[in-house]
Amino acid sequence: MAGDAGAFDRFVAHFRAKVFQYSWLMCGQREDAEEVAQDTLLKAFESFDQLREPERVRPWIFRIARNACLMKRRKSVFAPSRELSLDEFLPAMEREGGQVKLQIADWSGLPDQEMLRSELKGVLDKAIGELPETYKSVMLMRDVEELSTQETAHVLELSEDVVKTRLHRARLAVRQKLDSYLQSAGGVRVGTA
């Protein structure tokens, strides 16, 4: 981090928003999320000498944020729970005249079709928001923040295998909700095997 005042303001503006959004999605409370953002930035400045690799500042900040978020909760939202079963996300398949058919929406207009996209934003918001916390935290790190599997494992104190397992289920759950929405909006296309 450079020593000028501009660098300070840019750093604070960027990470304050990021950490706020993460905590907001994890805790659902605006006040808590703002406090978590403030506490995280303070802690980051206070312990900056502990950051060994400056290029890994994002996972480092998110790890502080995750811990600050945990402090806000009496009951851990990150507590392990039963893994969702993959079968819950298998698309409906049916055999018809010896052929396997898959019931799935028409996704071909995405992501280019502007209107679909803006409508989907709300659906996506809801789909991510409704994920069980253990899955949501993984998806936010891996797909939204685009941290690596290894970085996410470090931030959330999970094994890389658990990160992979949960990410897959989180994606499938979100895909399923988007698919239901697309089916209701545009009808069903039946893929044939």
Binding site: V12, A17, I104, R175, A193
Partner: protein, 91 residues
């Protein structure tokens, strides 16, 4: 040629590995097996595409909620910690 029943068992197996496949985290042999299956299975192609698009949408996703503007007291507190940090840095 696989029977429809065998095919859906294979599809299920592929289904469990799709995210690792999309993330290019599969070992080379598993990846080849996946590609071999997918290339001959229309439902798997279609499902994989929809999952890939889900990931694309998530990558572009930006939560709408923003924090309230940073108050003066909070900014001062942060700036104090920042200055302290800069002062103790040796490099």
């Amino acid at each position: 040629m696989l029977e429809p029943h065998e095919r859906s068992e294979k599809c299920k197996e592929m289904f469990s590995l799709l995210s690792e496949y999309l993330n290019m985290e599969l070992p080379a042999d598993a990846c080849r097996e996946m590609e071999a299956h997918i290339s001959g299975c229309a439902p798997c192609v279609e499902f994989t595409e929809s999952l890939k698009k889900t990931v694309e949408l998530c990558r572009e996703y930006e939560p709408e909620e923003l924090p309230a503007p940073l108050g003066d007291a909070a900014r001062e507190e942060l700036l104090g910690a920042y200055r302290k940090m800069m002062a103790t840095r040796t490099d």
